[in-house]
Symmetry: C2
Subunit: 344 residues, 2 copies
């Protein structure tokens, strides 16, 4: 049985930027029953561009000038970003942070909707997006920003607690990975780097783009690891709850999983080994992993520790964001369920 | 001018264990005007034992059986731990964590005072020690435990805030180094390890051995670095203050220094490079380094980030602890000033 809708009724998604996030978004789009990849944009004929071709994604250059580099490298190129826009119902902008504003001018002139990533500042979009928190705010919008991997992780777990029990205030330390695993040029090799050195970091205000009234303060450091970010979280609750109630809450919430040190998952390394054993492409983990043993309610405070797969947690968010902006469904749960089933 | 008192009036200090802490305590004792190193104990004739000999410290084996290994290795050995005890007014036990209880039985039978390190559990001693926080509680005591490097760092900065402004509650995340720099066998290499996975970690209760009534909760992770620990700290204050007032407070408190990212100290790596430039032996930093830019008072909350040189911050504490236990002075400031001047 093929649940896919007819080819010409599918949402045609152009992906501008085929790096860490872009290549994953392309694969996620390709798996959705209601979407297809119109094509992907690269600036240079890299090895990743060869993967795009191998995946049968039509390859576009970011401009006419760069097209020649692809043909010189023996790669078939279908045109430029402007050509891709003609083929697309929506563009997912997965270009490196801070390139977005220039691209946005093009999208506006071409009258095409676009999704930006969390590396851009919030004002680039009409609204920031987290599927489980504010899907409905983004319905029909033209320019939306999916918040960063860390903010997505915070929104998922804080969001369900805010909704169910109520948050008086949240105080979080983010222990961030240095580079991604496929990057050999960045550090740190042997240091802990407050980044930013000022407190609060920008992550708290970024959560406020989704939850404007949440009292949240964040400190952030970067450490010599590539696998995941980790958050230590302290929440003052508005209403009473129990450790067990929080565990049950996380268990039944999509895109959150509980992991147990008692079962050998003692660090981010074992979490990602678990993900590899699950067999998803690239060993990705789209869910936020919360350590079962870390969850502790003491008085009106809740403590827990969670880990974020920075390369992949925002990928399903981009898919849901497409459905919201194109008003495919007004029900976030329906989109989330469709996205996750297709990616499983 | 030689301020040293006569040799036979000096406190004779035996050091049981000549590893990371023991070798530093020996050097610190040797520099004090009122103390001398009676000798140091090693279990095996390692390279560190050769350094002890080169430093002209009399070398003792932990027992008769092991003495032969030293003579076989061509190292002059002066006897056993029991012989060293005869030569000493006090023993600093710097053996690896958890060996202390067996050693304590020997110290009791030999009627000699002893200082234990933070790797031992608190009940091994009559009282735990931090010079700036509870020196007077330890005057004349027989068995005292100098708290661990992390707890020492917390006691120094929390202590002065508690004393001056008052702490309603403190919530801390400890980002701990993996192994020490001279250890090539331990990890993690590429992971963030919640350690312990449960919240709170043992560090909060350990601070309570010094400040019994302080409301403090700690989370702790281990990361792939060797240089320093780092703490992100959130304090709810009892009384109003300002960011500037906290900076002034830290500036005038011994054993705390402010470092500035704006002057290039952007991580633990640059802090330790600063320490190496100061020229102390082994590039040690006995002070707790607080990032100037991280200090931020918002409403009744204070935020800051500090780094701890785990190999050396407890060393001056051991020196002051000797003076307290032997009732050399009842004034902590006098001992602290004497210790720090001698180590400078």
């Amino acid at each position: 049985m093929n649940n896919k809708i007819e080819e010409d009724k599918m949402i045609s998604v152009g992906i501008n930027g085929y790096g860490t996030i872009g290549k994953r978004v392309a694969d996620a789009v390709a798996r959705q029953p209601d979407m297809k990849v119109a094509g992907v944009v690269k600036t240079r004929p890299t090895n990743e561009a060869r993967h795009a071709i191998a995946n049968k994604y039509k390859l576009y250059a970011n401009n006419l000038e760069n097209m020649k580099n692809f043909t010189d490298a023996g790669m078939e190129i279908s045109g430029t970003l402007e050509d891709l826009i003609e083929e697309s119902d929506i563009i997912i902008d997965c270009t490196p942070g801070k390139v977005g504003p220039a691209n946005k001018e093009l999208y506006i002139s071409k009258k095409i909707k676009a999704i930006f990533q969390g590396g851009e500042k919030a004002p680039i979009a009409e609204v920031s997006f987290n599927a489980q928190s504010n899907y409905r705010n983004c319905i029909g919008k033209d320019y939306v920003r999916v918040v960063s991997c860390n903010t997505t992780g915070l929104c998922r777990t804080l969001g369900i607690i805010e909704k169910t029990i109520g948050i008086k205030k949240a105080r979080v330390t983010l222990i961030r990975r240095g580079p991604d695993p496929g990057n050999s040029s960045k550090g740190p090799v042997n240091a802990i780097v407050p980044n930013p050195v000022t407190v609060p970091s920008h992550h708290g205000p970024d959560v406020n783009t989704i939850f404007p009234n949440m009292d949240i303060m964040t400190s952030a450091v970067i450490v010599p690891t590539t696998l995941m970010h980790l958050h230590t979280i302290v929440i003052e609750l508005k209403n009473p709850t129990t450790t067990e109630e929080i565990k049950e809450l996380f268990k039944k919430t999509p895109r959150i999983i509980l992991v147990k040190a008692s079962e050998g998952i003692t660090s981010t390394a074992e979490i990602m080994e678990h993900a590899r054993d699950l067999g998803k492409k690239r060993g990705d983990l789209n869910e936020i992993a919360v350590w079962d043993e870390s969850i502790n309610v003491i008085g009106n405070e809740l403590f827990y520790t969670q880990a974020i797969h920075q390369e992949s947690d925002v990928v399903p968010e981009n898919i849901d964001c497409i459905r919201a902006m194109l008003s495919i469904t007004e029900n976030p749960d329906e989109s989330i369920e469709m996205t996750d089933r297709a990616m499983d």
